[in-house]
């Protein structure tokens, strides 16, 4: 199985491997990380990779990048089974599963265009995590889990 992996997604020297991402969510993971290919990182993406745990899964490997807590928090909402591996000098030095947070800040923007968090004010968007989505701390708008990907703040 391990050899199989290597064929599909190459090893990275330093950075993060996000494994066990629900199949179909890899591009949303990239969106959460604000990666659109213009910033120069080396990124490898495996989609629909066979997995014992998930049947099919996606994998994202990002060279030269360790994730912030806000990024991990939002990631946990769209890829609850994900594991995060920090790689330094080709070795996994830290491996953790994502944990569903109680709140998320930044990363997601409020879908309500008229919300004060979308105005030019000195605040960061913030959401309380509900059982099936998140709720804006400011206007109270509810974003369902499946809508989160469409509301990522990738500026």
């Amino acid at each position: 199985m391990t050899d199989d992996h290597q064929l599909r997604v190459s090893k990275i020297q330093n950075g993060t491997v996000i494994d066990h991402v629900e199949a179909g969510q890899a591009l949303n993971v990239l969106a959460i990380l604000g990666i659109d290919g213009t910033s120069g990182e080396t990124v490898s993406v495996g989609m629909n990779v066979p997995s014992d745990r998930l049947g099919r899964k996606d994998i994202v490997k990002v060279e030269g990048r360790e994730l912030s807590q806000s990024e991990v928090d939002v990631l946990s909402l769209i890829a609850p089974a994900a594991s995060i591996n920090i790689v330094r000098d080709y070795e996994v030095v830290e491996k953790s599963r994502v944990v569903r947070p109680e709140t998320v800040s930044g990363v997601v923007s409020c879908p309500n265009r008229n919300c004060i968090s979308n105005a030019d004010e000195p605040i960061t968007s913030g959401f309380a995590v509900l059982s099936d989505g998140v709720r804006c701390d400011y206007c109270g708008s509810i974003v369902r889990e499946k809508e989160i990907a469409a509301n990522l703040d990738v500026s």
Binding site: N112, N114, C115, I116, S117, A119, D120, E121, P122, I123, R135, C136, D137, Y138, C139, G140, S141, I142
Partner: protein, 304 residues
Amino acid sequence: MRQDHLISAVDLSREDIEAVLDRAAEIDANPAAFRQRHAGTVLGLCFFEPSTRTRMSFDTAMKRLGGQTVDMGPVESSSVKKGETLADTVRVVEGYADALVLRHPSEGAATMAAEFIDVPLVNAGDGAGQHPSQTLLDLYTIRENAGLDDLTIGIMGDLKYGRTVHSLAEALTNFDVNQHFISPESLQLPRNVRYDLHASGASVKEHTELDEVLPELDVLYVTRIQRERFPDENEYLKVAGEYKIDDETLAAASDDLVIMHPLPRVDEIAPEIDDSDHAKYFEQAHNGIPVRMALLDILLSNDD
């Protein structure tokens, strides 16, 4: 009151509401006793949206408690026009006043403003969000005329964008109330209000026709359906016409039905209703003074 601000009706407990309504009743009974209660207090009025009525009501309430008001004036002539953030504006005005009243066109504006200041803040309307001081005077009016428990209320009109509706519906979940919502499908309650009502276990039913529920109502709360909510003029006229009240509509209503409206109305309640015993909307508007006096009195006494 547990909190220092009044931002959303969701924050109000039954005890909070009753404390304000009881104080308002005391004020109503003996306004002279409160005349100098907050002498020397200054209330800052920050209205980022035109509103004569609510602004006048808070202005009067503060003055009848012996205090004074400072008003930032119309947005066109203020620093906001020069691009100042709301966060900056409230931090500046906080230095002039002992409490602030804020009306703003963006949802969540009051929640954000409260993060930046230490004086009490009253949300006097944030976009299509909340208008909790209106709710307190609505509740006062309901309590005086029909009682707040074992009540069946119909709330009709623009339930989607109507901030008075959102605040009222959420506050009513503190009481034993059956809530019926009557609106065109395109103006039904927004997802977040529905969520709060559901979470509080309230009895909520939705209708597109008033006839379905009118006979069982103790209170009918009517709101205006605004033209700008419809892309097409004909569509507006067609829809708005279905949610109007006149003598003929009321033939099926209980004799004790109380009709309320946050005003201003356009033509959703026919003038012929005004002289009937059903009409409580002018009384409701007058209640704005004692209730806002009570609210300010309680918020300003919190840190004494």
